[in-house]
Amino acid sequence: MAGAQAAQYAPEQAITASRGRGEPEWLGHARAEAARAFEVTPMPTPALRPWKYTKLAGLEIDAFAPDQHFAPVVEGEAPEGGFAGTISHALMDSAQAAVVEARLGSVVHATEGKFVAANAALWTGGAFIHAPRGKTFAGPVSITLEGSQGAIFPRVLIVAEAGSEVSVVIHATSTEAALLASTVVEVVADADSRVRLAFDVRWGPQTQEFAIVRAMAGKSADIKVNTLALGGLLLKQTFETLLEGEGASSTIRGVALGDRDQHFDFVTYQDHIAPRTVSSVAIKTALAGASRAAYYGVTRVEETAKGADAVQENRNLLLSKHAKADSDPVLEILTNDVTRCGHGATVGPVDQEALFYLQSRGLDNRAAMKLLVAGFFSSIARDIDDVVLEAELEAEVERKLSVAAF
């Protein structure tokens, strides 16, 4: 079944648009291949476990007209030999273009699924962050995604060569109009590199985003991904780390604050492939109104990953009786030799004793809820360790819970 805008998603159109933008031949072919994959790939169904809690009934990607003018705004100063800008610009520089050609689509393949295929065929602008060998970015790079309407396909490629360091913050905003975003973020973290990636999600009230963020971590590479999920109608973020090099580590931290009919869906996949790899996932949601959250997390320890250390945590605080959360953490351990491997998941209402305690100190219900939610988030806020994001979270708790229904 094809949507009203299907013609714009066709392989011929992908090639034509690519040529029109003056892109290299290889990219045009890659886009056409992705468009063909899009045509033949079905929409995910709830029968697939990562999609169990997010019903897509009625949603057609190609019912949304792609916004051809969309492009991320990249701000940041790259060290010598590196890059921080759009992929379109990177393609005009032969040295950077060679890195893009080698790495783009190497972590997330266009044939993996419907949303990914659409992104690979139709992304515009793109963001490319390249930290060359042994170099450190002087400050964080900021990528701003500003959506208006229709469909946007944000694409981000981060390449951190051996021994390099880079920190990237992605800010997402949109208007009140209906918007579909299918986002792909690829991270290549070579040996001994250090990558920090944060999402500051403040989409408008009618935006639905489906994002996949996948990182490949080389020997002793250290990857940390944080997400602050505040805005949007529907947000599905999938965070995957492939711990391929010995001693590599992955940390994922997330908070979501929901109200009205917001829907958050987090999927994490931590694949321990090499020995002595470390992963830590902690995601907390607080849900007011009729908002809901889902979490499906897999930590897999391969037979080859002796001495792995993995922890996974998901906590959901229901602030109203109409809010709902599902939590489904999974451990797949294929070796006897692990240092630590554990998970914890909870879904529950606010502690009534704590609530009465605060009320007995003069705090009305709303003020008490704000304090309890801020306290609930504090462990994640501390781990995210970014004063700006921390202040934003604090302000959002104040703003949202001043009007939310409990």
Partner: protein
């Protein structure tokens, strides 16, 4: 005679979720400014229920009677409204709130009590002064509310809040329980340091020992939901010496309790 801080008029209280179980069965009590009252009684006599009810706990339901505070009937008022008007309950078992620091709690509570934002500088000055009065380190205020606190620390944290909020009526629910002699003395000295001539204090206790440090003007004995005897400090001494049995025997209540 000055107007009472608190008046309980024939107060009858049951458990909200078990309305057929009445715990407080008609209590009259008047506390005037400057007075310290002690409410004593055996386990299960309804002391904590009475304390929680005065503070407005939703766990309990007033079946009949009135709670009059500073001349106003507050029987139907929520706990937070009562607290803002100056009622303070020091909990027998203060709850743990991970992630919320004592500073954050005090800041919000003080804001609520005063009905306006308290300037940071002023707040910090008051906090330092109160901590010093109670011989507590500043470290204490940075910790999460009651998280990992010892029994003594929890009770001192309650008294710290009382010191910051300057209530007109303080109810100390078994503030002495679970404390060794040194901790008890520290907490009692704290209460004495915070006592003002215009406030009323209700000390709820099972044992007499806290009353050696914070001397009550009146002592009431609560048995099976009723005040069966009132007197001065000597009544507490009597209980210390002989327990509750002689009083109950004298009033012919021993059988009633046993059944």
């Amino acid at each position: 005679m000055s107007n009472p801080i608190l008046e309980l008029r024939d107060l009858k209280v049951s458990i909200t979720e078990k309305p057929d179980i009445q715990i407080v069965k008609g209590v009259d009590l008047t506390i005037r400014p400057g007075e310290i009252h002690a409410l004593m009684g055996p386990n299960g006599s309804g002391k904590s229920t009475l304390a929680s009810t005065i503070a407005g706990s939703p766990t309990y339901k007033v079946d009949s009677g009135q709670v009059i505070y500073q001349g106003q009937d507050i029987t139907a008022l929520t706990a937070d409204a009562r607290a803002r008007q100056g009622i303070f309950l020091s909990f027998q078992y203060p709850t743990t709130i991970p992630g919320v620091t004592m500073v954050n709690l005090l800041r919000e509570a003080l804001k609520a009590r005063r009905g306006e934002e308290v300037p940071a500088r002023e707040f910090i000055a008051e906090l330092r002064e109160t901590l010093a009065n109670l011989k507590m380190s500043e470290d204490f205020a940075r910790r999460y509310v009651n998280d990992g606190f010892s029994g003594g620390e929890k009770k001192r944290a309650e008294i710290l809040q009382m010191g910051m909020l300057k209530p007109d009526l303080a109810i100390l629910d078994e503030t002495d329980s679970g404390l060794d002699v040194d901790a008890l003395r520290t907490v009692a000295e704290g209460v004495n340091a915070l006592k003002r001539p215009d406030m009323g204090i209700l000390i709820i206790t099972h044992y007499e020992r806290i009353l050696d440090y914070v001397q009550p003007d009146f002592v009431h004995v609560l048995v099976a939901g009723r005040i069966v005897k009132s007197g001065d400090f000597s009544l507490a001494k009597e209980i210390e010496a002989g327990g509750y049995d002689p009083i109950m025997k004298e009033l012919g209540l021993l059988e009633e309790v046993a059944s």
